[in-house]
């Protein structure tokens, strides 16, 4: 029996195979899914912002791409995962409303860039990504198969 665990906004969780992780309604936010197939440990983070560096409030580390990835790795290591074996799949980072060209509204794009950069720094290979666009995503990550199911409204369903 596999459980389905909810990951909230600015939240992260690690599970053992075959549990699944879900986060709903990703817009500009990004769902980062990590997996160690050997240790059978999976994890998901739902980040809102690219970097904790400029933020005035950075106590909630799961909110930012950089600190969320660090903490998720630690959490997964605690369950027996090895950072060297981790692979990643990511989804989200869209721009829901198109008002002018203000940088603030392009937060989704900035999030996606930051996540790719942080994972690169940690030496974690990105197996698949589904980012950008102007629509929301609900994602379910299967820690057994490593499949990431992406649900949308009007853009169908896909597995990456």
């Amino acid at each position: 029996m596999s459980n389905l665990l909810q990951v909230g906004m600015a939240d992260l969780k690690a599970v053992r195979t075959p549990d699944r992780l879900m986060t709903a309604g990703l817009g500009s936010c990004i769902g980062i899914c990590l997996l160690d197939r050997i240790a059978k440990v999976g994890g998901m983070a739902h980040i809102m912002l690219p970097s904790s560096q400029q933020a005035r409030s950075n106590q909630n580390r799961a909110k930012f791409a950089d600190t969320a990835v660090e903490d998720l790795i630690v959490e997964m290591e605690r369950m027996g995962a090895s950072p060297k074996r981790l692979t990643a799949k990511i989804a989200g980072g869209s721009q829901m409303f198109n008002i002018g060209s203000s940088e603030i509204m392009k937060i989704g794009e900035r999030n996606a860039r930051a996540v790719v950069e942080v994972l690169g720094q940690k030496g974690i290979r990105i197996l698949a990504q589904d980012t950008g666009g102007n629509y929301g995503r609900t994602i379910i990550f299967d820690s057994d198969t490593g499949e990431l199911l992406i649900r949308t409204i009007g853009q169908g369903e896909r597995i990456i």
């Binding site: 936010c29 937060i107 929301g136």
Partner: protein, 206 residues
């Protein structure tokens, strides 16, 4: 400056609620004139809530909704989101266009445009009332309409507050047609610096 919304006093929250009351009262009247029907509004709610609770107010982060978004600039930069279910958006569009209710749940270009216009009028009257009351200049952007998951429509707006804190101040109004029909939720989300301007204008910045 108010850094943490949880520092707001009871008097300040009441003053903000009163703004919601005045703004929404005017907006409800405008909506009633447009639809030639009776529109009621709920007592406004002022909430200081963690980010992921905002989507819960409209049914949950993956509920499909229609959102009309405005950036407000001027004396107090804010964000306005008018969120309604797809069925209610179709109903509102039909009321505005003088069509009988079809109970449909898909929005064509005409309906989207009608909903954007309703959002425009609602947020415009809301802001006008607020501006009159506070002597502030508040200028809404053109409306941006999106049909998608509630969480997805909200998170880009909420992310702007993430740099400063984990909570957001939400002024929420519900418009009703008849006894039960909830037409939509109007969220006014002032930016943190803007909150001080509003409180000063209301004379409760202490």
């Amino acid at each position: 400056m108010i850094e943490d919304f949880r520092d707001l006093s009871g008097i300040q929250l009441d003053a903000l609620k009163e703004i919601g009351n005045i703004g929404a009262g005017n907006a409800a009247t405008a909506l009633a004139v447009m639809t030639q029907d009776r529109i009621d509004m709920s007592v406004p709610q002022v909430g200081i809530m963690p980010f992921d609770k905002v989507a819960e107010l409209v049914g949950g982060p993956d509920i499909p909704v229609v959102g009309v978004y405005f950036q407000v600039t001027g004396s107090a930069n804010s964000n306005i989101l008018f969120i309604l279910s797809i069925e209610k958006a179709v109903l509102l569009a039909e009321l505005l266009m003088g069509l009988p209710p079809s109970h449909g749940n898909s929005l064509g270009d005409m309906e989207m445009s009608a909903v954007a216009e309703a959002g425009n009028i609602i947020s415009g009257t809301y802001l006008n009332a607020l501006a009159m009351f506070t002597q502030m200049t508040l200028i809404p952007s053109v409306p941006a309409v999106g049909v998608d998951m509630a969480g997805a429509l909200l998170d880009g707006v909420l992310a702007r507050y993430g740099e400063i804190g984990d909570y957001v101040l939400v002024l929420e109004n519900m418009f009703k047609k008849g006894d039960l029909d909830v037409i939509g939720h109007l969220f006014l989300i002032p930016e943190p610096g803007a909150l001080d301007s509003i409180l000063t204008a209301l004379g409760v910045n202490y």
